[in-house]
């Protein structure tokens, strides 16, 4: 039966996260934006919450009594819960998606592809009362969406691999205890040449380059990672050597399937941002326009606000549907991409209007809307840009004509 009722568990997770965002995060977020990070004491305070949170593992909150280890991303079937809760993260501070201690984007890949020994060792490093992070190192200068084109090289040398190359835009890359680093044995092989290594902090030959200064999403750490004759033990090859015998395409597929649960989450966080900006602008309009300005001007504003709330709800429902499909074992590649495409699009529109309506006040530092407008742009870019999502949607609509990523006909 068609139903839009949240389960008690979802309501609890949503309300709990909302309270944390409202009371602890919102008061600090403007300063964290200026300082490009939260104070260390804040991360420690987040730990109880972080234990129950793992991005993209399908978990936004701890499943009661579940054997699943949320850190390992073992929360299949909980996409909807994650999406309902994730909206509150976006609402509080979008940076929360990545500043939350834990394995971050490295978690799901380690959980899906790591050997039992690797999972035990590396998830254990992140536990305990102190905050720890991990990272996922794929992007390079010159390769973003086209991940097959990475140029960081690896070669085997006895019981080690030697890595040479540079990674960029790696979230939590400087503070990560370990980073999953993608390299290739031969760029000509495409995905089949890819190898993934768990590189620990402090490994000789691995150093952190510059920390990026960003438009928004500033409380997150974004690092350049440099590898110069960096020697990594064979044991740190993700999944072990046998996993690559049939070609790393299986690994690539895992990465793509990960998107089916992560993209609705990215979409909903942008919806959370949009909602935050909408609340700001409605309040601003109420305070400044309704009673003191001529009615015709207010009518135009009401119409526009009504349009924005409608688009926010439409974007939210796209995310919910994609997550609901994931939870019910229905293939959702197209819907996940639509959620990822439309959520940030609405986020851009709403935050931009919030800044616009506030006129001279809107662009002042210290206004939440100003920060949200800068923050939301990245949601239109990471996890596949808007244009990548259009490609995915199109390819999933045309069932008889198989298209390559670059639009060539394959059949």
């Amino acid at each position: 039966m068609i139903d839009f009722t949240l389960t008690p568990q979802m309501k609890m997770a949503r309300d709990m996260l909302h309270a944390v965002m409202d009371k602890k995060v919102r008061p600090l977020c403007l300063q964290a934006d200026q300082d490009a990070g939260y104070p260390d004491s804040f991360y420690k305070e987040l730990m109880p919450l972080a234990q129950g949170f793992s991005l993209g593992g399908g978990g936004g909150a701890k499943k009661e009594g579940a054997a699943a280890d949320p850190m390992a991303g073992g929360m299949k079937g909980m996409s909807l819960l994650a999406v309902v809760a994730g909206e509150e993260l976006g609402w509080g501070d979008p940076s929360m998606a990545l500043v939350m201690p834990g394995p971050g984007t490295g978690g799901p890949a380690l959980a899906a592809r790591g050997t039992p020994e690797q999972k035990e060792k590396y998830f254990a490093q992140l536990k305990g009362p102190q905050p720890h992070w991990a990272a996922y190192g794929l992007t390079e200068p010159g390769t973003g969406s086209d991940a097959a084109a990475i140029r960081t090289r690896c070669r085997k040398d006895g019981d080690h691999y030697v890595i040479n190359g540079t990674k960029c835009y790696i979230s939590n890359g400087a503070r990560a205890e370990w980073t999953l680093v993608f390299a290739t044995i031969d760029p000509a092989l495409g995905h089949a040449g890819h190898r993934v290594f768990i590189v620990e902090k402090g490994t000789p030959g691995f150093k952190v380059g510059k920390l990026e200064d960003k438009l928004g999403f500033r409380a997150t750490e974004t690092a350049e990672l440099v590898f110069e004759e960096c020697r990594v033990p064979v044991d740190n090859l993700l999944g072990g050597e046998a996993a690559y015998d049939q070609g790393a395409k299986a690994g690539f597929k895992t990465a793509m399937e990960f998107f089916d649960t992560s993209r609705p989450l990215v979409g909903i966080m942008a919806v959370g941002i949009a909602r935050a900006a909408y609340e700001e602008v409605v309040q601003f309009a109420r305070d400044n326009y309704l009673l003191s300005r001529p009615i015709p001007r207010y009518q135009a504003i009401k119409d526009r606000l009504a349009e924005l709330q409608r688009k926010i709800d439409a974007a939210r429902l796209l995310c919910w549907k994609a997550a609901w499909m994931a939870d019910n074992g229905i293939r959702n590649t197209k819907e996940a991409s639509m959620a990822k495409l439309y959520g940030p699009q609405v986020g851009m529109e709403v935050t931009s209007y919030a800044v616009q309506l506030m006129g001279a006040h809107g662009t002042l530092k210290g206004s939440l809307s100003e920060k949200l407008f800068r923050d939301v742009k990245v949601f239109d870019i990471f996890e596949g840009t808007h244009q990548i999502q259009q490609m995915v949607v199109a390819r999933n609509l045309f069932e008889r004509v198989q298209l390559s990523t670059s639009g060539e006909v394959l059949n």
């Binding site: 839009f4 949240l6 409608r310 949607v393």
Partner: protein, 389 residues
């Protein structure tokens, strides 16, 4: 528990209706458009399934399927042809008006004979009219009312036995003072003329001129303005579902054509400019459909659904107009020809989008509900937080 799937009973009903639409509505769609009528055999098959009784409570002759089933049924039928879907809706919104506004006795008496054909006369012929300003008036004469006014875009009116006519009965602001009257469609003083409209032609849109015809006032609602609001909300969502259905139909043709038609050595869908164009159509359409589902769910539960219904109606109009216009574009020159079905979808959707209030009308309602003086009071009560969902 959130679910985007309907119940098993609803699904099997929709599967049946989907086959009916494919096998009976689709092949006759172009001819029905030209004739301006639904084929009697098709109508017979539709009534035999009991489809005309969907969405009515059992006291009003319903068969155990609620508003969600009715709304989804309209969507499925409109995928093949929105015009015949409207033409088949013999009880339609008029019956919903009796349910929303009539007393128990009136509901039982008026809807007791489901073989009758009903039509809702809501839109005013005076272009300056809107819900708050209706030029159709009902004057009291003893125990009865006498109606005068001109209505337009009244579907199925020339086939109808009974009309439900909205008219101003007393002075008042907005919906206050507006009432619904049951009028015998063949009474002296009622003149019905088929209109020549761009779309929904098989739905037989008519102009209805009423001069001194007697009407029975529907008197069951404790809060008539709220009941009228619910009626309009149901109308908005039913119409939105039809638009989404029709747009889905056009989308199917466009997706198919894009894979068959070749240009510059490959199917046109392999050209990214066109592929992205079609991807955007899909996003718009899915967004609108989800809003329709949410509004249907709220209506079925009997909740106040004005925000959801207006959201659904506006989004569906915008999305369906975009998708059907763009579907014609995908077909290029062929899309402009009546040999291809896409131009029909485009005409029908544009007509649906104007039939029960335009997006501008819905936005005005939304602006009042969300940001008007009443909303300020409730916002002050809740603090300034706006709850999710």
């Amino acid at each position: 528990m959130i679910s985007f799937a309907c119940s098993e009973d609803e699904q099997s009903l929709l599967d049946t209706l989907g086959r009916f639409a494919q096998n009976q509505l689709m092949p006759d769609a172009r001819a029905a458009d030209r004739r301006q009528s639904v084929d009697p055999a098709v109508r017979g098959a539709y009534r035999e399934m009991g489809a005309h009784l969907l969405g009515l409570p059992e006291a009003a002759g319903g068969i155990g399927f609620g508003l969600t089933a009715k709304i989804l049924a309209e969507e499925v039928l409109a995928r093949s042809d929105a015009a015949q879907t409207v033409g088949l809706d013999d009880l339609g919104l008029a019956a919903q008006a009796v349910v929303a506004l009539g007393s128990e006795a009136q509901i039982a008496q008026l809807l007791g004979d489901a073989e009758r054909v009903w039509a809702l006369a809501s839109s005013e012929a005076d272009p300056a009219a809107h819900l708050g300003y209706m030029s159709t008036v009902a004057r009291r004469q003893g125990d009865d009312y006498v109606l005068s006014g001109v209505k337009t875009c009244v579907f199925n009116a020339d086939r109808a036995d009974r009309l439900v006519v909205l008219a101003r009965a007393e002075d008042g602001e907005g919906l206050a003072g507006i009432a619904a009257f049951v009028v015998d469609a063949r009474a002296t003083g009622v003149q019905v003329a088929l209109e020549d409209r761009m779309g929904l032609r098989a739905g037989r849109p008519c102009r209805v001129q009423i001069e001194g015809a007697p009407g029975v006032r529907l008197t069951g609602a404790a809060d008539p303005a709220a009941a009228l609001t619910r009626l309009f909300d149901i109308g908005r969502v039913v119409n939105a579902a039809r638009m989404v259905g029709a747009a889905r139909g056009a989308m199917g043709f466009a997706v198919d054509y894009a894979q068959d038609r070749k240009a510059f050595g490959k199917p046109i869908c392999a050209h990214q400019g066109l592929a992205f164009f079609i991807a955007d159509m899909e996003v718009a359409l899915e967004s609108a459909r989800n809003l329709v589902l949410k509004a249907a769910w709220q209506l079925e539960r009997g909740e106040a659904a004005t925000v959801a219904a207006c959201n659904a109606a506006i989004c569906a109009t915008e999305a369906a107009v975009k998708v059907t216009v763009d579907a014609v574009q995908v077909f290029g020159g062929a899309g402009f020809m009546k040999d291809m079905p896409v131009e029909r979808y485009m005409r029908d959707v544009r007509t649906l989008g104007n039939a029960l209030g335009t997006p501008e009308d819905h936005v005005a309602v939304l602006g009042e509900v969300l940001y008007g003086p009443e909303s300020l009071k409730s916002a002050a009560k809740d603090g300034k937080k706006v709850a999710q969902a």
